[in-house]
């Protein structure tokens, strides 16, 4: 309606900002520093973040923001886990961004094999329950939304049950809402199918 205001480009003037107590001092993400820091992580999350434990999520090939978001929320106490909460407690934002950049740069390997039956049922369920709307058509995630394709089987089941029961931390309520209608049987089928997805288009 009244969009004719004369505007002028303004020069950037970044003032020095003193941040004594803020954890938010940060630098451009450093992949090498991330790899060094990741030595602790890979003890459980597997080589290069490729987990070989069904309970422990793979981190390789995740969107960077999904990893930094998860670490931030562990540190701040929004998401709680007896192992991850203390590990994240001492990480700075820069550490988190570096770790995120490193794991995002690694390739996901997938070993889980689903049954023929679940392979046939999975795509329809992933569509029905709106997984593909946010996680993407191949469930590879983007921005803060994690990659679930090829994620560890038991981990997926645990998360979906947690969201359904509203015991799993949920930033904006979307996953709790999406999981509310899932039956236990569908959770098992979905997790089995999604865990088997490798780096190729979902069938």
């Amino acid at each position: 309606m009244f969009f004719n205001l004369k505007q002028q480009q303004i020069a950037p003037q970044i003032l020095g900002v003193i941040l004594l107590f803020s954890p938010s001092i940060h630098f451009a993400a450093n992949l090498e520093a991330g790899k060094e820091k990741a030595k602790t992580c890979v003890a459980c999350h597997g080589p290069a973040g490729n987990s070989n434990n069904p309970e422990i999520p793979s981190l390789s090939g995740q969107p960077a923001q999904a990893i930094s978001t998860a670490l931030f929320r562990f540190r701040e106490g929004n998401r709680k886990n007896p192992i991850m909460s203390p590990l994240a407690a001492d990480l700075t934002n820069a550490d988190m961004n570096n770790l995120a950049a490193y794991f995002a740069s690694e390739k996901r390997t997938t070993t889980h094999v689903t049954s023929e039956k679940n392979l046939a049922l999975g795509p329809e369920l992933a569509n029905k329950y709106n997984c593909t709307q946010c996680h993407g058509p191949q469930l590879l995630g983007l921005q803060h939304i994690p990659r679930i394709a090829g994620q560890q089987h038991q981990y997926l089941i645990t998360q979906l049950r947690g969201f359904k029961q509203q015991t799993r931390s949920d930033m904006d309520g979307n996953m709790s809402s999406a999981a509310a209608n899932l039956s236990e049987a569908d959770i098992v089928v979905l997790a089995d199918y999604i865990a088997s997805l490798a780096d190729k288009p979902a069938p």
């Binding site: 107590f21 451009a28 709106n130 904006d172 309520g173």
Partner: protein
């Protein structure tokens, strides 16, 4: 006999459970009301970069303001949302995706950012009155008395009111909080879903007297408001309201509303933007039963903080103008918002002009993400400069004016 009773009891209980499973399950709250045509939509919400942005990555040079205005980075606060100022000069900053409240203080010319409260539940709403900081979390409002003298050792919060998350559901659970001229606290209880029939306290603006915890419904039919301010002269409450999703890219408009009397109804879920009857609930009521918006703000622009300009630094024509931070939403194929708009009111309190004030966060209207920053809340400082929070990058900016 006993066995028989038990088994028939089980049978009686099993029937409704079975019937429930068979019934059509409601879709997730953000998909309610989505039409078949949009069933393949891949539009998704955006979330902030919680670990913050690298200051050198901020594209400040892309920001545009009217002549004479400038913008600088003022402080870094993770997921910075609502802003409030203490009488001794402390700037309080809330967040939504984490669980903290921060204080920014200036001491010996240096600016310090301190985390003063942690372990809260979605503490989006903050307000300051008479030495006390009030924090609205998901389920309750607590107060922290004499807070500015105790920033390094803050007191335990004292409950003002609880039970303000009536459904404990996943939708619109965050609160905006402000203080009225009557010294009562005003806040929203959002609709729990995109489009649904709310109960008595949902889709409302509520107010509570912090002296005795008495709760009243101040306005109703408000889908969700995350920005409120009182007009400096008329003392009426103005607020932003987010319209429903999935009616298309261009409708309904998000709204700027003004409350003329307590209990006024703004139409949700029956009527949107004052003149669009809802496809599901519209049949139960007519749009002329409700108060129309003072201004249609654009569809899916996600208006958040709004503030009347009461400072003296900006040019005289800005006095008592209304600034609105538009967060920009996700439910539109071609994105808009991600800016600060200026609203000029005439002598009768009617909207005379609506124009962009700060633009340049929106980079690619078809991009994913389309923006590099998202305005949330505004605060006028004693020197007349205006602070603006950006939750996406975790940055607070300062907007200043100097005669060109």
């Amino acid at each position: 006999m006993k066995k028989k009773i038990i088994s028939s009891l089980i049978f009686a209980l099993a029937i409704p459970a079975f019937a429930q499973q068979k019934a059509e399950e409601p879709p997730p709250r953000w998909l309610q009301g989505r039409s078949e045509a949009d069933a393949k939509s891949t539009l998704h919400p955006f979330n902030p970069k919680l670990t913050g942005a690298d200051i050198s990555d901020l594209k400040i040079s892309k920001l545009k303001l009217p002549a004479g205005f400038s913008i600088d980075v003022w402080a870094e606060v993770p997921n910075a949302r609502s802003l409030a100022r203490g009488t001794k000069g402390t700037i309080f900053v809330s967040n939504l995706a984490a669980n903290d409240v921060y204080a920014v203080v200036e001491k010996d010319g240096k600016r310090e950012v301190k985390k003063i409260l942690k372990g809260l539940n979605a503490p989006n709403g903050i307000a300051f009155m008479d030495g006390t900081l009030y924090v609205a979390e998901r389920t309750q409002i607590k107060k922290y008395e004499n807070i500015e003298d105790r920033l390094d050792n803050p007191p335990e919060g004292v409950l003002v009111v609880d039970g303000i998350d009536p459904t404990n559901g996943p939708g619109h659970f965050w609160k905006y909080l402000t203080v009225g001229p009557d010294k009562k606290l005003y806040f929203n209880i959002g609709s729990p879903q995109n489009i649904t029939m709310p109960n008595y306290v949902q889709a409302t603006i509520m107010r509570v007297d912090p002296k005795n915890g008495r709760l009243e419904r101040y306005a109703q039919g408000v889908r969700n408001s995350v920005g409120m301010d009182f007009h400096p002269v008329t003392k009426k409450l103005w607020f932003t309201e987010h319209g429903r999703d999935w009616l298309g890219d261009d409708i309904p408009n998000d709204e700027l509303n003004v409350v003329s009397k307590q209990g006024e109804n703004f139409g949700y879920p029956f009527c949107h933007q004052g003149d669009i009857s809802d496809p599901i609930y519209g049949k139960y009521a007519s749009c002329d039963q409700f108060t129309p918006p003072a201004l249609k703000l654009g569809a899916h622009v996600a208006p958040l903080g709004l503030h009347f300009y009461t400072g003296k630094q900006f040019p005289a024509e800005y006095k008592n103008n209304l600034f609105i931070a538009r967060h920009g939403s996700w439910n539109r194929n071609t994105k808009q918002g991600y800016d600060v708009m200026r609203v000029v009111l005439d002598g009768n309190g009617k909207v005379a002009k609506y124009e962009p004030f700060l633009t340049g966060f929106l980079e690619d209207e078809k991009g994913d993400p389309p923006m590099w920053g998202r305005p949330v809340d505004l605060l006028v400082m004693p020197d007349g400069a205006m602070l603006m929070s950006d939750d996406y990058n975790g940055i607070i900016y300062k907007i200043s004016y100097k005669k060109p």
